[in-house]
Symmetry: D2
Subunit: 374 residues, 4 copies
Amino acid sequence: MAGTLADAPAPGPETVYDDEHPLWEKFRAAGLANWWLPARHGGPGVPLRVSVDLIAELSYHDPGFAFAAMLPILGSRMLEFYGTAEVADRYLGEMAKGGTFCAALGSEVVAGSELALTATTFRREGDHLVVDGEKAFSTNLAFGRFCLALARNAEDHRDFSVVLVPADTPGFEPGPRWLMSGLHGTGTYPATFTNCVVPAANELSGNGLRVLEVGLNGSRILMAAIAIGIARRARDLSMEYAGNKQLGGRPLTQNAVFAARMGQLEMELESLKSVCWRAADEYDALYAREDAAAAFHGQGVLKSAVMAKMHCGQTGWRIVSAVSEGFGGLGYTEAHPVQRLLRDMRHISLVEGGDDVLRELTYGRYVRHASRRG
Amino acid sequence: MAGTLADAPAPGPETVYDDEHPLWEKFRAAGLANWWLPARHGGPGVPLRVSVDLIAELSYHDPGFAFAAMLPILGSRMLEFYGTAEVADRYLGEMAKGGTFCAALGSEVVAGSELALTATTFRREGDHLVVDGEKAFSTNLAFGRFCLALARNAEDHRDFSVVLVPADTPGFEPGPRWLMSGLHGTGTYPATFTNCVVPAANELSGNGLRVLEVGLNGSRILMAAIAIGIARRARDLSMEYAGNKQLGGRPLTQNAVFAARMGQLEMELESLKSVCWRAADEYDALYAREDAAAAFHGQGVLKSAVMAKMHCGQTGWRIVSAVSEGFGGLGYTEAHPVQRLLRDMRHISLVEGGDDVLRELTYGRYVRHASRRG
Amino acid sequence: MAGTLADAPAPGPETVYDDEHPLWEKFRAAGLANWWLPARHGGPGVPLRVSVDLIAELSYHDPGFAFAAMLPILGSRMLEFYGTAEVADRYLGEMAKGGTFCAALGSEVVAGSELALTATTFRREGDHLVVDGEKAFSTNLAFGRFCLALARNAEDHRDFSVVLVPADTPGFEPGPRWLMSGLHGTGTYPATFTNCVVPAANELSGNGLRVLEVGLNGSRILMAAIAIGIARRARDLSMEYAGNKQLGGRPLTQNAVFAARMGQLEMELESLKSVCWRAADEYDALYAREDAAAAFHGQGVLKSAVMAKMHCGQTGWRIVSAVSEGFGGLGYTEAHPVQRLLRDMRHISLVEGGDDVLRELTYGRYVRHASRRG
Amino acid sequence: MAGTLADAPAPGPETVYDDEHPLWEKFRAAGLANWWLPARHGGPGVPLRVSVDLIAELSYHDPGFAFAAMLPILGSRMLEFYGTAEVADRYLGEMAKGGTFCAALGSEVVAGSELALTATTFRREGDHLVVDGEKAFSTNLAFGRFCLALARNAEDHRDFSVVLVPADTPGFEPGPRWLMSGLHGTGTYPATFTNCVVPAANELSGNGLRVLEVGLNGSRILMAAIAIGIARRARDLSMEYAGNKQLGGRPLTQNAVFAARMGQLEMELESLKSVCWRAADEYDALYAREDAAAAFHGQGVLKSAVMAKMHCGQTGWRIVSAVSEGFGGLGYTEAHPVQRLLRDMRHISLVEGGDDVLRELTYGRYVRHASRRG
């Protein structure tokens, strides 16, 4: 895979990594599509600890591909934990078999990060649920075979659920693709639900807000891991440039200031790995429990997952900020890939909870009460 | 002007701010083209202190336009100071009258920041000079009416001069435009000189390396001033977003964390103005002297100019890094201008001397010897 | 002076720079005591722009002395602007003649930075005022000849005044000296007022909160200027160490990483000067106006003064943080002065308004309303 | 222990944590002295992973005690790995039984971080070694029962060894204690060796420079872990202060800016734990190998150990820098412990290899050659 990705040109705005894209077809053929799906649903059951390294490798070559490829874990894990056996087996089975996508829908324009203000509603009508509303950002939505949407009970504003909506449900409409600053190749879309009728069994069990928190644990850790790959790329591009660049009559690789910057980068890069591996280990330990679904629901946001995303977003930004200055004038042109690293890295601190939101959450859940401090 | 720029869409990759672009035509019609040219050459003679504010205003709306519009000061001031009266009057007079561009050519691919390794040569043949070589980056080159190129004497590798080459000189060939990460609309190009014959009077007096340093003083201060405009834009976009965004049931403008970030930004923004104004005042004071050309040649790099560029590049980057996190998911899309601020701000630390080069220069000239410390 | 200070050992905890300290006696004999007092009160009338350079010089050698020497400007300028002619002339005249100290009392333990919660009260009784309450921190208080205390009207909690209390007023009692982390030699004390009776004419005119804001403008600019001196000292200590230290067989002064750090420091140091000079120039321009007292009262907090203190506190901290790593193991011992630079620099971001307070103030006064933005 | 430490006043300059100090006696009585010594030498054999948590707990209360208590691991592990069975058993056995100290001596004044310039020599004379020279900094030296000194062969300047010198060896002389900026209670001293004769068996096997690198792996990880304790203390002091402080009529614990700062601190604190735990796990895995001594000698500097020290020093400094601003004026007095956290934290980036040295080392060993990159 790595070779394939490395040889590919950077994806332009016309590229979408959907399940018909040649790169995805190779990925699927290699048995890698949806690699985390458990054996009982027909998947390879790769643990998160290994997934971190896989994502680091993919994002070294193409962060957009890495993002698109891992994001279905957000939806699928909610379904795996909180769907009925039948629904989970049907949809996850198809996903494992076909190497297809699913999507998740949390954020809305007005609610923003305040999910408790979610305006998308569901109402129970006999054996069915009816979903109405608008969502702002959902990656892989336009070609996902189903999506999992956070909605509030139209009759009880404190009651939230996550509802599975198949892509062919009448009234479900993905909007025009967002053009993103980085992560090129990733397809992200808004969506509207107009009187979408689905079976009642498509409602996941548990508090919808909590269910979404559980789903985000996996995708946040893997989003953090994208920083590892980008940072490695930043380092290797720097070394490659320095090997071919003379300064003061010697290769730049022998320059002390350059060496100091690379030594600092390496230390920061290792810290990315440390926090991701720790979060993944904690995730895998919880996942291995008999009562994993209940245990995750009890915890909601996994502290180490949020810490990993925040740390990697911030430290990753520091890394690419420093590196982006090291290529002279050429490094400001589109002829050189370094400025793209900035755009790709930027998403980590912005999506699936910006740092302001996560700092507040961290304080409320893990600092304020002395008994919960680490 | 401001209104015009504000209403204009962001320039796409096809836009070039040359002297036929409608925006430039309005700018010229307003009497603003090449505003720093002195009255004796037919220009408005606006001092640098005022130029800083003008650039801050232009770059608020369009940093690429601001960059393209101010960069001719680099070449024109070298010519004004070190050209013969006749040559200076001819070329600067046309430039003032026509609102046309000139370009400067310093950097080369191999030499990079080490201008003493410049490989472009000139040789004196009777009443003429012959210029040969390749240059890497020159803004406004493809439509500038003349350019000023740093070259080394083909017969004496320690002898450097800056030579004026008219755009229609046979053998002078701009290369394909560089696509830049930011500053869209600015046209930047490589160039080749093949046996370019120009009159001997086109050689500027003085050490070419020193002459170029003098030219850079003005453009570095104005490049620093671009950070002021981008930072103001970052602040105002933030305030606009916050005014329309609710958080916790109140406008974001009433949120304490947002307020703290904006208070910090304002302090940083004011520091940009302080360093630019001080540098401009020092420049203007030197420029007002009878012996300005000699005084500038004696100093070469103006300390405050380099300090301004470094400070604005670094602090400006801190400002846009912080602000770029404040717009939620929308702020990561191309539908929102905030990510463009990052790309535009980035150039300040990269071009006309990266910070590594300028730190070394600052140490060597202003720190190492106790008598020269501030 | 400089020589004297440089030769003196660092002050221990027993040193207090009061008006009987030998160093102060030399300072006074040199005509420098209270150098900002205007000619009409018998002072030298040195403008703030010059004061910045004087403080930078003093704090190079002894930041505690510089702090103690300049802080009376806070009280004296309130009196100069808002005292009756007779009271101002009497107390400022004595201060100019004798080279004595005055103190100001704003902060209280409970109110902290929220001056509107000030619990110290005054009540008007015929021709007198009676002051009661406790204040937390006041430099020079124990030996100041008079102090200026912010108090609230016992009968109207929205009415604040600044009241002059002579040091010999019965019921006025300085508390035990605070031992500070840095600024050694400075004497800072709490105080209690128990039924302190002073003439009614000792009440300064104007809103007490606003009057205090005006007084702080001068001391905040000079506190910012202390950072200049400490930063210069940090640089020179580094250069001295490097001149005597070999690394890789050459003096450390020839090391590229060291050079880069010093080049960066120099840029940051110049930015300290830029913001202080600009603030001082703005202060002096306002001070030169016929209606200076009214003009300052109209503005209250001078934006550039607050910006200078914030910038110098933050950038100064960055400077000494970096430098404090550059002396090997020796630099962690008390045998070397470098760790003291950290302690001295720290106060700038902490006293006379911490950065949290100033960020909020900046936002509220200078950012929130579009018409007031810079 | 924690209770005991928490109740103790901060150690003044007269305190030395030697083996007669009451706190040390309690520590020893609790079976904690030299906790890492292996069972075969009579010690408790606590792994490094547990040691990290122990150090974090100790340094929460008293970083100086934590430093003094863990530093003997540096010398003892060199002896354990590279001493003859008889010498190791004798000295480590006494150390385990008596709860006594040993010291290590690497740095010298002239050599500084360049250990290859070590000027202390040993020469082999029959069954003995003779050691001569001066060392700059050695913690616990004055009361350690033996020390391990890096020396160069007087007859071969490329041959380095580590030599065990018992404290009662004639000619061995600790110098006057260094007063340190932080880590109060720790006793650190220079030393001279004048014709010190020791048995030839006291020479450790292996390259002395490499042996010292191996010794430092353990102490660097535990030094990094000190940051965890200081950072926790910083957080808890902040929470305690905020619980008693009102701002805007509500406890500071409900303030959004405070919450954001604490959320950020918590994330940074967790990153300290992640890097320390990972380094400790890697250390323990290597230690568990049959061929541990050879395996460690083969690696020398453990990458994760150096990364942990660098990351914790830098991130720890960021944490205490931020926290030290959060206590108003009180926080600048010696009446409050917060400024001490700065002094204690500072040592992590300064001792056992400053960051400049470690960045260069990291680059040379782990970045420069593509095959060794992580």
